[in-house]
């Protein structure tokens, strides 16, 4: 027992050091890189949520853009229709609530199936939301989307402040705090008996059922928690991006969430975080440097699948273990 606890203890020290280092990021990075880093952080939260399904429950969803959109549109719709309630302490719980509702409805249908059937169902349902956001254009702005102004934050208004200043100041620390909370909560979930039950379902559904785990219900729980994390990521992302469009619920966007999780490695808890960061930079720099950026993204995926099936973080962790063993 004592032996087992030691590396965990070390691990948390490393997390703490990294967290403290992240506090100093605004002093190190340029404003542009900082804004990009914030995109990465929001997607890291999304990745954590997504991986609860993929990595821990064994369900590959091609429709997680829907919950991202639920979070993002909760913020944008409140900004448009209830401007008096447009403060961050109201919109974040609202985003969590709406993404929870949506994931309960969609999850109820999806978790009845696994494998490809689950993926396709999740994809179709997210496209249903896409169609609604796209077509109810008088309400949602359709393909043009909605502009998201700066919110008030705990009674403090940011009027007259430019978005980059807002993002490099208070908001960064808020985002970092939300990320840290998400990280700890998710770590707690996957290490809890509930998390272990999910992993049991992933590894052998029949055996899990036989030992008394209510498989479908546990999958639904995982689906809802996952949806809420992705919704939270979506809500936090809106302030960084400043504009939401129906594309967020499109399967292409959901595909990006899958991509970044694969890129980082879904077999490792921290994998999606690493993947989210790399993907944010990869896509932008590919777009900024060549017209054939889609080729770069596609080629990276092929290389990844063939050479690094466990993702970048997975490869590092294997390398690390080998080095230690070698020593």
């Amino acid at each position: 027992m004592g032996l087992k606890n030691k590396p965990n203890y070390l691990r948390w020290i490393v997390y703490l050091i990294l967290f403290i280092a992240l506090l100093f990021i605004p002093r190190i990075l340029s404003i542009h890189d900082l804004m990009l880093f914030e995109y990465g952080l929001t997607f890291a939260i999304v990745g954590l949520g997504f991986n609860l399904l993929l990595g821990y429950t064994g369900l590959l969803s091609f429709g997680h853009g829907a919950y991202f959109a639920a979070g993002a549109y909760s913020v944008a719709m409140i900004a448009k229709y209830l401007p008096q309630a447009y403060s961050i302490e109201i919109v974040i719980p609202a985003a969590l609530f709406f993404s929870l509702i949506l994931s309960i409805i969609f999850g109820f249908v999806c978790v009845r199936h696994t494998k490809i059937f689950f993926s396709i169902l999740a994809l179709s349902l997210s496209m249903l939301l896409f169609a609604l956001l796209f077509k109810l254009y008088h309400i949602t702005g359709g393909s043009d989307g909605l502009r998201v102004p700066l919110p008030t934050m705990f009674g403090f208004s940011f009027k007259g402040i430019r978005r980059p200043e807002f993002l490099s100041g208070t908001y960064y620390y808020f985002l970092l705090a939300m990320f840290a909370i998400s990280f700890v909560v998710m770590k707690g979930i996957v290490s809890s008996p509930f998390g272990k039950a999910l992993q049991a379902i992933r590894d052998n559904e029949v055996r899990a059922e036989l030992i008394g785990i209510r498989v479908r219900r546990y999958r639904l729980y995982a689906f809802c928690i996952s949806g809420m994390f992705v919704g939270l990521g979506g809500a936090l992302w809106t302030f960084v991006n400043g504009h939401v469009t129906a594309d967020l619920s499109h399967w292409v966007f959901s595909g990006e969430i899958v991509y970044m999780t694969l890129l980082g490695g879904f077999g490792i808890f921290e994998g999606p975080i690493v993947g989210a960061m790399i993907f944010t930079y990869l896509k932008l720099y590919a777009m900024g440097h060549t017209e054939y950026w889609m080729f770069v993204i596609g080629a990276t995926l092929i290389v990844l699948v063939l050479l690094l099936p466990s993702g970048v973080a997975g490869a590092f962790s294997t390398l690390w273990r080998r080095t230690i063993k070698g020593n």
Partner: protein
Amino acid sequence: MTKEVSRRKFLKYMGATALTAGSLGTTSKVWGQAKPIPKDPIKIAAVSFLTGAAAAPFGIPGDNTYKMCADMINKEGGILGRKIDLQSKDEAGGVDAQVKLCRKLILEDKVDVVLGYISSASCLAVLPLSDELGGLIIAYDCGTHELMEGAKSPFDIPKFKLGFRSKAHLGIDNIALALYIKKYYPNIKKVAGINQDYAWGRDSWLIFETAMKKLMPQVQVVKTLWPPLGNTDFTAHISALMGSEPDIVHSSLWGGDAVTFSKQALGMGFFKKIRMAYSRGEPYPQEVGKDYPEGQIICCAGTHYFLHTPKDKTSADLQKTFVTEYHKRYGKYPSYPCYHAYQAIYAYKHAVEKASNAAGGGWPTIEAISKALTGLSFPTPSGILTIREDHNGYEDCLVGVSKLTPKYPFPILDKTEVFPAAQVNPPVGTKTVDWINSWK
């Protein structure tokens, strides 16, 4: 030829701006302290769809024009002696990718100006970045009337200090179509609409329908159809339209959808009884060729038509050079996105020169360039373009009817009519729909 025209134009502007500045008498205060002209090239980012459905009809022609214009300007010595370093970027990848890309272009790559955007969604998401990041952005092809308009008339202008659009919005296409129908087909009784089911289609129909109700209240709307974007089978829509027997069908279909619809409708005998009125149909006769039906009403999103001769002599000369040069390079006649690209890059050139002159030489500050862009009026291949105080382009609009002639392998426009800018653009500070509703 090109060189001569541009020098004349340049001298004319020198004179005009010197006079204005002189009469104001507050040169340095208003126009800021210009810095010495840097030696390095001007970085211009041109963002258009280079992949996806909007690439072939708009993005590639637009991007080609940017490249051609940059070469032409560089050959003439650049802008105030600085050569243009043009960087083409792709507009695909979603709106969030465009926000990130634009931030990178302005903050990291430190481009002097971002010219771009075909999609209205990109424009709506990106233009606010101009003031947020302190970078100049000129939107060149997106159509939404909401871009520069406020929530209610009258609204405050300009919406963005450093954000511009060097063209008019989709209002002019649809208003001009309605005016054309009233003038040439006063006896029609029924109209219908087929527009793609997203913001572009909905907005286009809204403005056309509002204008028609005011101009021809006796005309009945018998059918409005909303096929999805990227539809490949229009047969059901075509049958439904034929069943409702309209005289004219309004449409803002674009790209592959416009071509597919036209081909399928031709096969079903649609054009024997019904006439289409396309709000942005200008590129498609050339795309489709001889099969393109005759007698269709086509709007050119301004006066952007390769056979149009602007009244103004300088513009007419520019049009000749532009059409010849574009055809020589790319083997096609320029379509309306090409003219839009020309307007954006030359708006920047003229504004820099105007601001520099007003400040008494040197390279102007970004605020001075923005000030020069406001109210700027300059000759383009499709006529004089003005950028108003609301930072939106102010253009005439040309409508005609397709007709085959022996001279071209595709139908050209006959019975052309140019509607003056004042007739098709809402006044500054008024929302388009409110303006149409106020018509007497």
